[in-house]
């Protein structure tokens, strides 16, 4: 409140009512925390009522959700392991959103990234078996990022050059990516030893990226944190990011001031896709060890929710991803202790998503945060 002294001179000069208090001066910032928080709480209450209809105690539900997500060191590690791919797939939606594009194909880019990374590892294993694991890992990450990047670049290019709606094309590309993955895994790339669950050959234990020392959480979390911070700097502290936000705000104004909107769209889409592709690489190199249909676990779709809940802000994605990672981590416990179906996490995600979108109507309308004018 120290700046009030400086403000007071102006306040007297303009009008007595312009003497804004703390709440009013930081109104927009508080709104960004308060409104999604309220939406989240409302969603939890509605979900509690929903499970109460099936004869479960909502208080048990909240307890097990907390316990399964953040109650123990074990559950924290489970939560963080799930948050890692969520941060990366959320960036796949949040980066194009700066340009006003709604990309929902993160799942597809994740699958293509996983396939590219696995192919790279298998190719290096046969072509240059002497390569050190670090080189293989770097090559895998690069392959995953390029593969996923090109996949979303395709949606961006279709929008730019053909006017195809990017929301629908990116979702169609998810199904196409899944078909390609199933085709390769059951056909040309199948490991003959994988009988029940068709898979590719393993990338080898030496090439796995392992855990952060002292934890069971893999290095993918660090990749996610770095990607989110870099995205934040790119969007809010570079000329490129400024240009992107101008184009997202008003595309005609951006064209008039001479920004090449096409280049912005293509670059951002490639970066967005490479984040999701990296998530695919991480899932292969840290969790699965090979590519198979297990990879289509819905991280891409939950990532969309994370991005919207974080209001497309790359830094806000980190805590939101941890929160939603926690919700999905608690799913197993809810299944065992409360006998809830595994789909209850999906229902909760759907309810949260709807409340978050509906809460968009609240911004700028909370009385005590508005200055009296």
């Amino acid at each position: 409140m120290s700046s009030e002294v400086a403000d007071s001179a102006d306040a007297v000069a303009v009008a007595p009512a312009a003497d804004a208090g703390f709440l009013q001066r930081h109104g927009t910032r508080i709104e960004y925390i308060l409104i999604p928080g309220a939406a989240l709480s409302a969603a939890l209450v509605v979900f509690g009522v929903f499970v109460a209809l099936f004869g479960k105690n909502p208080l048990d539900l909240y307890f097990y959700m907390y316990y399964g997500a953040f109650g123990t060191w074990f559950s924290w590690q489970n939560t963080l392991t799930r948050a890692a791919p969520l941060i990366l797939t959320a960036l796949c939606t949040a980066l194009p959103a700066q340009l006003g594009m709604v990309i929902i194909g993160g799942e597809g880019a994740l699958l293509i990234g996983a396939l590219s990374a696995t192919s790279m590892a298998l190719a290096m294993a046969s072509a240059m078996p002497w390569a050190p694991p670090l080189a293989v890992q770097i090559a895998m990450a690069a392959a995953g990022m390029v593969g996923g990047g090109l996949w979303i670049l395709l949606a961006g290019a279709l929008r730019q050059y053909r006017g195809v709606n990017e929301t629908i094309s990116s979702l169609l590309l998810v199904y196409i990516a899944l078909a390609i993955l199933n085709h390769l895994v059951e056909g040309p790339m199948r490991d003959p030893a994988s009988l029940n669950k068709p898979s590719t050959r393993e990338i080898g234990a030496a090439n796995m990226i392992g855990s952060i020392p002292g934890t069971e959480v893999h290095w993918g979390l660090v990749f996610g944190l770095i990607a989110a911070i870099l995205s934040y700097i790119l969007i809010y502290h570079t000329t490129f990011g400024f240009a992107a936000r101008v184009a997202g705000g008003n595309i005609r104004a951006a064209r008039i001031v001479g920004l090449s909107v096409g280049k912005l769209i293509l670059t951002i889409c490639f970066l967005a896709g490479s984040c999701a592709g990296l998530a695919g690489m991480v899932e292969v190199a840290a969790v699965q060890g090979r590519t198979n249909a297990n990879l289509a676990a819905g991280y891409g779709f939950t990532g969309i929710l994370v991005a919207f809940l974080a209001r497309q802000n790359p830094l806000a994605i980190i805590p939101v991803a941890i929160l939603l990672g926690g919700i999905s981590a608690s799913g197993g416990l809810l299944q065992r202790r409360l006998d809830l179906p595994d789909a209850s996490v999906l229902v909760l995600q759907g309810i949260i998503f709807m409340f978050v979108l509906a809460s968009d109507a609240m911004y700028g309308r909370i009385g005590f945060l508005k200055g009296k004018s």
Binding site: V102, L172, Y175, A179, N182, H183, L305, Q349, G350
Partner: protein, 308 residues
């Protein structure tokens, strides 16, 4: 030919039969979405509505013993999801595309949640009319076993075409889609028109879902719909918001979707998954060919957010 071995003719015949069988969900979802989009709003959540419709139809058919009651329940479930979509969208500054994505998650999640106990039991299925009685060839008879819902859908398309052109009701919907201000000036509530249009759209999409669980493939499981809903939404764009073109496009998509199983039945098993993805490739290809960055699509409702 009388010996029943029709060789490679199996493939086009199966594609033809598939066009009739597989196209029904596409047809209902696209007609429903056509009504919603004509009123100026897009509901991307019909994928979730389709799955929810499939689950409710199966559940009610199992509990009541009447598949037609199941179809009705699916329609009602779809209309309720439509009302939810329209309700959230009627709040200021809410993006209808994003609400659609949310409903896609919610509808599928709710259907999986409530449908968990329905995976085991068998529910009574919808009857089919045998149009192939004149033929001795089993494949022909199989292709011509046609479900009543398909016939209803085929009749619905020209009715909607006529209704959009020459009824008061059609004019009001089109006005809301072309210019919300004009509709308001005429004394209509745009939000109410869109609410009704989205509910009718959801009703039809729910019925499309009931076809999946009660006729073909004719069971309830979590992998029942893989993107048919979203393909049908894309199909409306390609059909230029014209119900008759929706009918032809649905038939083409049904045929494309039947290609994979048809080829598998004659022993072409490699690339099975790729052939199964044929409708998605087809949708994407058609969108690439028909869209243009230079102009908005002809026939597009001017209020629609995705074409602006």
């Amino acid at each position: 030919m009388a010996d029943g071995s029709i060789g490679l003719w199996t493939v086009p015949l199966a594609v033809f039969g598939g066009a009739i069988r597989v196209s029904t969900p596409f047809l209902f979802v696209s007609l429903g979405e056509c009504i919603t989009e004509r009123s100026g709003r897009i509901n991307l959540g019909l994928e979730g509505t389709l799955v929810m419709g499939a689950m409710s139809a199966y559940g009610i058919s199992y509990l009541s013993g009447s598949p037609w009651l199941g179809v009705l329940a699916a329609g009602i479930a779809g209309a309720l999801l439509g009302a939810l979509h329209a309700g959230i969208c009627s709040l200021p500054r809410v993006n209808d595309v994003a609400v659609g994505i949310a409903l896609m998650l919610f509808g599928t999640g709710l259907a999986f949640y409530l449908g968990k106990p329905l995976i085991e039991p068998t529910a009574p299925r919808l009857p089919a009319i045998d149009f192939g009685w004149w033929s001795d060839i089993p494949q022909v008879r199989a292709a011509l076993r046609i479900n009543v819902l398909f016939l209803i859908g085929v009749m619905l398309a020209p009715v909607l075409y006529w209704a959009f052109r020459s009824t008061r009701w059609g004019l009001v919907i089109r006005t809301a889609g072309e210019s919300a201000d004009a509709a308001r000036a005429m004394g209509h509530s745009v939000l109410l028109i869109r609410l009704r249009a989205t509910m009718v759209g959801g009703f039809l999409a729910g019925i499309g879902g009931s076809f999946l669980s009660l006729f073909y493939p004719g069971s309830w499981n979590e992998g029942l719909s893989s993107g048919q809903g979203i393909t049908a939404v894309a199909l409306v764009i390609f059909a230029r918001w014209d119900p008759m073109l929706c009918l032809w496009a649905s038939l083409a998509f049904g045929g494309a979707a039947a290609l994979g199983p048809a080829l598998q039945s004659v022993g072409v098993t490699s690339g099975y998954h790729l052939f199964n993805a044929a409708p998605y490739f087809l949708t994407l290809a058609i969108m690439i060919i028909t869209c243009s960055p230079k102009r908005t699509l002809t026939g597009a409702p001017a209020e629609l957010s995705i074409t602006r």
